[in-house]
């Protein structure tokens, strides 16, 4: 039963290996984006002081940590769902003996594995070159909650990715919502800066959105900046979002399938 999904994961990995130049370019672009944020924080953070409650060591760990987390959380293949629907490819999947979303989740896992492999290499290289002082978390319980938060982030991103792909049932413009999503995630997930640099009211609002649980929440747990209450409240909000998104995904899928006309090439 699980074997077929394992093959999907392996095929995705091999697909990346086939187009390795494209993939390497994509990863190189990620490094360029990381460097801007890294140096910007480096230049504004005093060596022995702090900014927004972050010491230089914590903020650089934050920047490098979110870069690594991005490869786990944000790597996805769900952008292909819209095309799948628009070209009529979906028909093939509907008659195959596996769960459509299981297939895409397996694709995501394969894609994430490739991204993680590259990210480890890139960050090790950058660490060797830049020699930043980074914070190493030693508490096992914190590691556990960090891992759990990453799990929630992966599921949240997957569900939103599926929903954005299913726009294809209604419109051929499935790239436009994803473009806006990319831009929202780039900033509101905390990938560029910790969300708590904003005033408390803004932070409260941002934490009520799902994006904050992509990168900001896990990395804040890792850095030990959250109290037990804040961790509990964070997991509760993330769980509510997962349940709500699961429910919406199911409704959209059923409604979308009723509209689906297998039109395409």
């Amino acid at each position: 039963m699980m074997n077929k999904y394992f093959f999907v994961i392996r095929n995705t990995w091999e697909e990346v290996a086939t187009y390795r130049f494209n993939f390497a370019m994509w990863r190189f672009r990620n490094v360029l984006q990381l460097l801007t944020v890294y140096y910007l924080w480096l230049v504004v953070t005093p060596v022995n002081g702090s900014i927004f409650g972050y010491s230089q060591s914590l903020i650089l760990t934050y920047v490098l940590g979110t870069a690594f987390l991005s490869s786990i959380v944000l790597a996805t293949r769900t952008q292909e769902i819209g095309e799948n629907i628009n070209t009529g490819e979906l028909s093939k999947f509907l008659i195959r003996p596996f769960n459509y979303f299981g297939y895409w989740f397996a694709r995501d896992v394969g894609d994430k594995a490739s991204n993680i492999a590259f990210a480890i290499f890139e960050l090790s290289f950058l660490y060797f070159i830049l020699k930043p002082s980074v914070f190493i978390q030693t508490d096992l319980a914190t590691w556990f909650f960090f891992g759990l938060a990453v799990g929630f982030a992966v599921v949240l991103n997957f569900l939103i990715g599926c929903l954005l792909g299913m726009v294809g049932f209604w419109s051929s413009d499935f790239w436009a919502p994803r473009f806006i999503f990319f831009n929202l995630v780039a900033f509101l997930s905390g990938g560029m800066f910790p969300l708590d640099i904003f005033p408390k009211a803004v932070v409260g609002f941002l934490q009520s959105l799902p994006f904050a649980y992509f990168l900001y929440f896990p990395i804040e747990i890792y850095l030990g900046k959250l109290s037990a209450e804040q961790i509990f409240a964070g997991f509760l909000t993330a769980l509510l979002w997962v349940v709500a998104l699961l429910f919406i995904t199911k409704i959209v899928w059923v409604k979308g399938l009723k509209l689906y006309s297998a039109q395409g090439n």
Partner: protein
């Protein structure tokens, strides 16, 4: 006469592209919102940062805003004019480029100017507005500094044009466009902040080897009176040199075009 001829064709192509863009108003609105978010969020980030630190790499609040606004102008203007570069791969792999070569236009015209993206106009206006507003808050600006600023803006646009011509040429030789043009975008994104933010050797690399610094931050530095005559001279030489080199490379690519398509 000839100038009007090209302008008229550009206008017709842009009108046609705009019709396609606005065919789906839903998509157009979302793309526009995405661009506005990207513009605004990074600005808010810079504001939050500099409100706390007072300066970034020695630059004050309004200087940083001026740098960011100038970056956005130089980032958006080439996107507005050279949007067709993003579609060029399709022309090559489908064989449509053969058709373009037979038209009574220079071979570079349609791939480069064949349809501007009207959605960028709002960001262009916002950038110009932000440049004027922040310039008012800068310390003394002379007419000379302003003239050099405009000259280096034009030079930055020339470098952007050169990069896009390189991308098109690589597209002809390898059919790969998407990654190279996005690589250009990511490299230029490093110019969102003054080049002094980066440490050596990266600063040197992105100033002279990949002239993001010359393109994006030299105009602002000239406006602030922080660029030497030697720096201005080097910037102009690099701009002109890159542009001429890109034209040579384009000719080389055209000579090696095999017309192989599906």
């Amino acid at each position: 006469m000839k100038k009007n001829y090209y302008l008229k064709i550009w206008w017709m192509l842009t009108a046609a592209t705009s019709q396609i863009t606005f065919q789906s108003r839903f998509g157009a609105v979302l793309f526009l919102l995405g661009k506005i978010f990207r513009f605004a969020f990074f600005f808010f980030f810079l504001v939050a940062l500099i409100t706390k630190t007072k300066t970034i790499a020695g630059y004050s609040f309004w200087q940083i805003v001026f740098f960011y606004a100038t970056f956005n102008l130089l980032d958006t203007l080439p996107q507005f004019f050279f949007r067709n570069v993003y579609r060029f791969r399709q022309y090559v792999v489908t064989g449509y480029f053969d058709n373009l070569l037979m038209k009574p236009l220079p071979a570079l015209f349609y791939p480069l100017f064949g349809g501007s993206d009207m959605l960028d106009i709002i960001i262009l206006f916002a950038s110009v507005g932000m440049i004027i507003f922040s310039a008012v808050h800068l310390p003394v600006i002379t007419v000379g500094q302003s003239l050099i600023y405009f000259l280096l803006l034009a030079n930055g646009f020339l470098i952007a044009a050169a990069f896009h011509i390189f991308v098109l040429s690589i597209g002809i030789l390898t059919t790969a466009v998407d990654n190279t043009v996005m690589l250009y975008r990511d490299l230029t994104q490093m110019g969102r902040v003054p080049i002094e933010v980066y440490q050596e050797p990266l600063r040197g690399l992105i100033t002279f080897l990949v002239p993001v610094g010359i393109m994006m931050t030299f105009p602002s530095k000239a406006m602030l009176g922080l660029l030497s005559a030697q720096g201005i001279f080097i910037a102009l030489i690099v701009g002109l040199g890159l542009f001429l080199l890109s034209l040579r490379f384009w000719r080389y690519a055209l000579q090696n075009y095999t017309s192989a398509s599906r």
